[in-house]
Symmetry: none
Subunit: 210 residues, 4 copies
């Protein structure tokens, strides 16, 4: 009797599948329900594996969470780091927004978890490592604003960190509303999200007054 490649490697393939499906299910639930409200059963039901598998691969619920966060955030920071900081400020911001678009498109839950982790630190276990990772994008924005100010690209009376938080908060909010509208429940307004998205940088750069 002969075996196909799939049959021979079934063990290894299955292993990866199990770990990966736990990982994906965990992202989704942690992102939407938070750490404490998510149960191991939620995750294993969604992943279609047995409970002890979580402990075999990740050790505990908390370690599973830490693994998820670390992997997600590292990836996000890496993606942002690839942007050339020496670009003109306006272009730099456009790149940041473009990368954000991509991340959101490919891994919406990851960004939602990040946002929630940011807004509600008590809903998740405390982890200095994760805290540092989650602040990295803002720090990058602030650094870019400092450099832009030195080059005389933005007004002198503008605070760099304020710019970073302003930008991040506004984008984060609109993106989150977008996600909730599409995946959780219709929001009670008639929003053309696509169009709204495009206005972000314009508003930030030029303000809203005539």
């Amino acid at each position: 009797m002969k075996y196909t490649r799939e049959q021979l490697f079934k063990g290894a393939v299955e292993r990866d599948n199990v770990r990966e499906s736990i990982f994906q299910a965990a992202i989704e639930f942690f992102a939407r329900k938070g750490f404490f409200a998510t149960t191991i059963r939620d995750i294993v039901n969604k992943a279609d594996v047995t409970q002890p598998m979580v402990y075999y691969y990740f050790g505990s619920k908390e370690q599973l969470f830490t693994s998820v966060v670390k992997e997600m955030f590292t990836q996000i920071v890496d993606t942002y780091s690839e942007i050339n900081e020496d670009l003109p400020f306006e272009e730099y911001l456009a790149q940041i927004a473009a990368v954000g678009e991509k991340i959101f498109r490919d891994n919406q839950e990851a960004v939602l978890l990040m946002t929630n982790y940011f807004y509600s630190p008590d809903m998740y276990p405390h982890s200095p490592e994760a805290k540092k990772l989650v602040w990295a994008p803002i720090k990058m924005l602030a650094d870019a604003a400092i450099s832009a100010k030195k080059k005389g690209l933005i007004r002198k009376d503008v605070d760099e960190l304020a710019v970073a938080m302003f930008f991040f908060g506004a984008i984060g909010f609109i993106k989150t509303i977008n996600y909730i509208d599409e995946n959780v429940e219709k929001i009670p307004h008639n929003i053309e999200i696509e169009y709204t998205n495009k206005q972000l940088i314009k508003l930030l750069l030029k303000g809203i007054t005539k």
Copy 2:
């Protein structure tokens, strides 16, 4: 036999104390840990009352949550409603920000809960009533932007709802960071929040470019 004022009103005062202390503890925990991760025992320990009192005064955990949200949000909406919508747009925004400052100062947890409810709907029970209330401030902002556009106060190529969400997202983020920094855990940056706050409207109105 005569009674002092304290004796006569002791019953009422005590009753209010128990109900009120449950209420306050509930706000704090729901705001910071979310609905599902908050336990009745968390609340009664903090409020220093016994468990059945929650059920005596509020019926259930969910009804306690609904009561808390209703009272808080109604109050917030009422406060915002007092702003004169016919003011010049710039002044109107300044008023909105000022009222937001006041609400934040007097009832920080309430706003935090509102923000979290907004960002993480799955961490709370679904309630159409609460959803409507939480959206009210944004709707007000959008209405003001519409009216300002009609009067030619803001650029034609600016979307009204985008303005509202932009403004709300940016303010919400900075305020939340502020709250977390002061009450939950130091954020890993050297932010002069007071100063940052003041820049919000300027940024929104004039943008950041020269």
Copy 3:
């Protein structure tokens, strides 16, 4: 200012009303749900009084139950005792049945509680006094059968206590089915209870064979 008689005696009248309405509600619930499954709240809601009133008038749930049983059973035994035991046996049985009909008509729940207490002693608190009362009707029937046998009215090979239990069990069952059909839930059969009732004594006396 003058008072009507009702107003003057309001205290007394109300008192009796409260005690009596607790009593009636207790009968109903104890009869249908048993002692342990009945809650004080069930009773006070039905009686439209406050909880402490139960303790004021009856001392405790168990004492309330004992009061209810004692009063009911004593009344039932008294009613049965009025039957003239020297009647011809057939007539005596008819009287017993007739009295049973009357009790059932006037106080169905009382009889149901009696039956349940009989069949399920573990569903109620143990009380020697109540036990004695509940057995009284059967003892009466057995005594009558003994006397009838002495007079040669019934066959020699018939056991007196067997007759009493046979009669009591058969009547109790049909009456209970009747009650449940009318008050709790339709039974899954097309029973003409009225007609069935009338056949009881005939069956007992003559049997069913040709």
Copy 4:
């Protein structure tokens, strides 16, 4: 490495033991105290297992009850169904009584639960399936009476359903008294149950008059 038969099957045996001991303890408590007055702790203490095992094997208290009732009643109905309905009526009744004897002997609690469920439907959760099962024996008796009447074996003025209920009520009562006398508490009479039992069919068939 070799395993003894015990080692190999230990898993299965243990599993069955836990499930089975919960099942047996549940029968006993539900039968004697009713559904609502029985606590999960009653059952697990008696069965010497931990509480979550009930939920692991049966899902909930109510599903445990339903499982117990279904299994018991189905078995009882099956046993009764094996009786040949074409036997002479007198013999058929004797068979019914004999089977009842056997069931009572082997599974007394099951019959007690059945009787209690019959007499006190409000002490148990409502379940159409259980209701149907509990009525099956009576329906069988009534059908037999109908057939016997057609064959001219019993008097024309006798109602078939009345016969069934009469017979069932009388037997049920005497059997229950017997059970209580032996297992719960001595009844306050000097009853020779064995002898009494034997008189049942005779009384039903020939009546008690000379």
